[in-house]
Assembly symmetry: C2
Homo-oligomer: 265 residues x 2
């Protein structure tokens, strides 16, 4: 599908004279063929740029899309939250349908609603939930390769759960990621849990916010514990050190999915 | 990954003088980027041709791969069974590893064993199990688009289960598919069951054999029943008519997966 953007310059919604509203939308995407959420300088295909192109096609306006989480290249989302301003006059459901008609099959708008003008998907958010899926068997799986991490060596769930239990509460997570400029490395984890789901091992973590690469660094390091390469004690020592150099390997992006973003009700 | 086949002509295993054995292998593939299992005259990418190219690279022999089920373009398999002859001398596990090292990421050999020379994956088989996955919600799903059929309108599981229940036993399935040349249209269905699995509706069907397109034609027609377009009675009448013209629409391939093939023990 090619967006027929035409040759005319898009208009800024604030200059058209209609009532400008802020919209919030929930977005699902298969991150495999995106260079992450955030627009890149060099014009790589990103989720943000794709959504902005769809809004341009639908509204004729150059709309800036704000996102709750800057997912990395290859990371998926079932519940990314975005916001943007528009003087669209045809209702929220019609806006969602029109956007979906202008999006490729690997990204979709699940829900659109109008919100108060001060709403910001990132700064207003109070919790994010991520899930990481590990597939633990000898042979790799063609059907699961896009959405899970294949680990050949047996992983011991009880050891990984013991490591995961240490994460809950307010801690300095400097070992597991870098903060955005100007922020500290303390985060509050509400819940961090491994569970077996059929052939999968799923790690679900809910926190007020995440450092860059934090979920994947945690999973990669916990898998060292599960594989018997690290003891739970070594994990605890590395965590307490608050030193990025002490983390284990970072798990690959395709196993990670942003499930949901929460806001104060 | 490019297979380095070199310029030399492959040898027929029977001419090399070693002990030729018949091997059986279980194969998983993501059917999205294959033009079905069976080798095509025009050199399209197929599972059979891909496996034969890997065996050529591994053994230096022109090996013909036989398959249990000729899955259509876009249909997946978790348990396709293949067989081939080779004078490979390094054991079954090493043969599986060597094949996987020469296969793209969307196909993998899960298990290899040597079998008696008369074994044929298709003619020796006594049962096949397929699963079809339907995703029933308003919005399409980017993450599920490659492995399920999105149905926007609500489907009633009880009606679909009533239709599915009619299939069990030995019946003429001419309404739902065409037989291979020279075969009749009677098949024995051992089990046909719809179940809800989270957001999915999964249909699992086990039969001695299937007509061409039979599983997808059954699912497409049962979904007419689930959507309220057809009554269960109309489904029963169309089934009893044994007339291909009476079937409902055929469900798309990406929801279908060949789970396993059974042999007399």
């Amino acid at each position: 599908m090619t967006l027929e953007l035409g040759g005319s310059e898009p208009q800024n919604p604030k200059l058209r004279g209609g009532t400008v509203r802020r919209y919030r939308a929930t977005v699902e995407y298969d991150g495999t063929d995106f260079h992450g959420f955030q627009r890149q300088a060099q014009g790589e295909r990103t989720v943000q740029e794709t959504l902005e192109a769809a809004l341009w096609a639908v509204t004729g306006q150059a709309v800036t899309v704000m996102g709750a989480g800057r997912t990395d290249t290859g990371v998926h989302a079932r519940g990314q939250v975005i916001a943007f301003d528009s003087d669209w006059r045809h209702g929220e459901a019609a806006l969602g349908r029109a956007m979906n008609a202008n999006l490729m099959r690997d990204v979709a708008v699940k829900e659109v609603e109008s919100v108060e003008p001060g709403f910001h998907p990132r700064f207003s958010a109070c919790r994010r939930t991520y899930q990481y899926t590990v597939y633990n068997r000898f042979c790799r799986s063609p059907l699961l390769r896009r959405t899970s991490w294949h680990r050949r060596r047996p992983l011991v769930m009880t050891a990984m759960s013991a490591a995961g239990g240490l994460l809950v509460g307010e801690h300095d997570f400097a070992t597991f990621g870098k903060p955005p400029t100007g922020e500290n490395t303390v985060r509050r984890v509400f819940c961090a849990e491994w569970r077996q789901n059929g052939g999968f091992m799923e790690f679900r973590i809910e926190a007020n916010a995440f450092l860059n690469r934090m979920a994947r660094s945690l999973v990669g390091t916990m898998c060292q514990v599960g594989a018997g390469e690290w003891s739970v004690e070594r994990f605890a020592v590395a965590f307490a050190a608050a030193d990025r150099g002490q983390a284990g390997p970072t798990a690959p992006p395709q196993g990670l999915c942003l499930l949901s973003v929460g806001y104060p009700s």
